[in-house]
Amino acid sequence: MAASITPSLRSALERLKHAGSINGMLLCWRRQILINLLPFEEFRAERLLQVLHDARAHFGSGGDRDVGTFWFGYEGVFVLALFHGECLLVTLHTHAAEVDFLRRAGLTFLDDTQLLVQALLEPAPDDEISRVETQPLGDLESGGHPPQASGPTKVIPRHA
């Protein structure tokens, strides 16, 4: 899965990783890891993902609670988990005072990248069709004529 991540989604997350005192990030969709930028092995990231989903399910088990943010502090590092729609963004950072800034930045990232995540999870079938049905430009370059359109074509003459 990680290999097929669109470069823009990964680069957007890597740019966010340069904000504040961040030293690791994890982007997930449901219980699936999309991008792991944590300084830990993959199996630890997978366990972390499950625990955070379990925590959210625990507090929401009564049916009337929806915990969107968890923030834990450990010796020298903080873990901030943001749920947004079906996505989860985990951020490791070192300065406690930055947490509210990182929360807002993380939620903005999740808002802005919804379309990229959607495109990653459900590649549009139109893409494949258009690649097959597109007329190669080579025909036109070798003296061919453009296909006749049903309506008038606007030609803007180019004068020297």
């Binding site: 379990d54 969107g68 943010t69």
Partner: protein, 106 residues
């Protein structure tokens, strides 16, 4: 303000000592806080286990209109170590609420 409108919970402070939760806010508030505190600390321990970070010295959960936290004083993170907690019926900046909890140490 209409009669049916529910006022948001005011800021409530709690102390943690010898594994017990205490507060001036009443028994019901203590019971509700204790349940959330135990759950939050449990999952904080689980997260710490995953990443080999140890036990959490602070934890916060936040909903649309609710924020709750706990923090142990000094280096203690054991269930019986002294600490404090706070909750409020709004989405409050988490660092600010941590500052409130820490201020009860003085």
């Amino acid at each position: 303000m209409s009669a049916t409108e529910v006022l948001p919970l005011p800021l409530q402070l709690f102390t943690l000592k010898d594994g017990l939760v205490a507060s001036d806010s009443g028994q019901e508030a203590v019971n509700n806080y204790a349940a959330d505190f135990q759950g939050l600390r449990h999952f904080g321990l689980k997260v710490g286990e995953c990443l080999e970070l140890g036990a959490p010295w602070t934890g916060t959960l936040q909903e649309e209109d609710f924020t709750l936290n706990f923090a142990y004083f000094d280096a203690g993170t054991d269930a019986k170590d002294p600490g404090a907690g706070a909750l409020i019926g709004e989405r409050m900046p988490m660092f600010e609420l941590l500052t409130h909890a820490n201020s009860t140490e003085e």
